[in-house]
Symmetry: C2
Amino acid sequence: MENILEEKGLVYNNGMAWEVFSKHLDQQGNTKVFVIIDENTQKHCLPYFHKNYPSENGFETITISAGEKFKNIETCLNVWNTLSEKGADRNSLIINLGGGVVTDLGGFVASTFKRGLQFINIPTSLLAMVDASVGGKNGVDLGHIKNQIGVINLPEMVILDTKFLETLPQAHIISGLAEMLKHGLIHDKAYWERIKTADFSNKIEFEKLIWDSVEIKKKIVTKDPLEKNLRKTLNYGHTLGHAIESYFLENDNKPTLLHGEAVAIGIVLATHISEESLGFPKETLKDVTQTILHHFPKQTFTQNDIKEVIKLLVFDKKNRNGKVLFVLLEDIGLYKSDCVVNNTLIYSAFEYYKNF
Amino acid sequence: MENILEEKGLVYNNGMAWEVFSKHLDQQGNTKVFVIIDENTQKHCLPYFHKNYPSENGFETITISAGEKFKNIETCLNVWNTLSEKGADRNSLIINLGGGVVTDLGGFVASTFKRGLQFINIPTSLLAMVDASVGGKNGVDLGHIKNQIGVINLPEMVILDTKFLETLPQAHIISGLAEMLKHGLIHDKAYWERIKTADFSNKIEFEKLIWDSVEIKKKIVTKDPLEKNLRKTLNYGHTLGHAIESYFLENDNKPTLLHGEAVAIGIVLATHISEESLGFPKETLKDVTQTILHHFPKQTFTQNDIKEVIKLLVFDKKNRNGKVLFVLLEDIGLYKSDCVVNNTLIYSAFEYYKNF
């Protein structure tokens, strides 16, 4: 299992990606090609995809509704039924063209239809490029619980083309940024220093940061594909981040947060908890908080909100024996996984976030 | 991937199985143990299971409705939700105690909950013992299409205890027999000769036949876990068998066939097609047909029934490029996979079955 990622292709050389992609498809000779898109990528990304893959044999598109709330088993059922009706067989290929919802759901649908079809991810959002694209995690939500159902199964290939980012709303770019900041914090001080001061309007600098972010994630998941230990660090900020995202999603009084917006808050909270319980440097905590709040709008939490968020922590996939387990940091790049965190520390972190 | 089966345990030594099972659970120290059962195994098998596994830590049971028509995503959703509510985490263990529906569905639920929990199969029907138990195929039906959704993922352990068969209705014993007859036909002439003349009331002889049947299946799936070629032979009789089973299931005018009853018909049809197109010996065809009809009641098919069954063949998982592909035999143990079969041959096979 160690070299599972190396068996599959990750193509992120912008200039060559589509050439490699076309050659791969010609060689594979899949019986049918299905492209899963959502309403947004149908409009903004499909034409560009088609220009770069003017297939003679053609492909069929399957469109799902856009947004996290459709990342569920019902949508899977629709796609499975469509594949069935359109005669997909075991040698068909699924191409997931979209953000994290499309690649997560499409990867799960492909991995389970007739016990597994090949699939290729073409992430079109920054979040999907730097996070969902690499590592083979796929799946859907169960009610409001994120990613409860899924498998780990690698795509045949991931195509990264930053051209897709040009059609992305600014809030979604920022959302992806949260994962890039996280990659710096958990693994690479130099990267953190670069990204926190980066000029994102400089296209070349921004692209370089994206590739490096993917490299960090790839390095981590290659070392620990099944999340025995190191890979848990990728969950930094996600324990509370996921719970906040779920809570805001199910509450009509709250705005729906993008994944990265919720994770950004989770990163501040986890870093404050790290400071209180593992001695994470105070100055760096301040630095992290300032950087996050520079990019992400502050959200308000009542005491009741916090109580409800804490309740949702019981669904975290890292939990063991009913205990909520956090990944925390002693310093940038120095992680400690499976940390038990009491509620006082969580309330205190929210207090810090509120008053900063 | 070649030795994937060898990494996991198959325990079928009757006398030792429960001891090995208990030791395994003690060593693993899973946080929680969930036993998936259906209404039948709750009544007939759970007490015996509990007697053999008097766990101090206890376990929780999750009961699903019995029968193939509940082997679907809706039932999975119920079980996933129950696991969520009862606080299953990644270190929980699922034990599937039941026939093929329970082991197929339970294996899929376990493989996909939080991206995969460990599971153990304890097949309680003959069919599940000689077929579903080995090889890691799991999944559920999509509408009336059998096993369209699933993954290949091995249980940690399979416990075979023929004591469970004592509570099984005779029709279900016979249903399992179809797969055992198939194992002889596709792989082992000597086994075929033994099983066709066996005295099933002789408990020792019967048990020996079961173990040998499992050994044949294990040998095949170990050589070809991902069904590139050899494993396809296990599908002998299933191409038409599955279609007949689906057709009878969705038709109120037809009796619901047990899996083995449908496969038994499929075996006769496939063997007739083998005789017509690959020169399978006429005498052996007669022998096969007599053996099957000795055990399984004959079903009637109108021309329209046959037409509808043929329509359902397009959903067969072995199909490629819209072509229905059969596994056929030149003789016992001599298979040919990916055979294109035209409808005339299928009608002719039904005619033969009818007139025999």
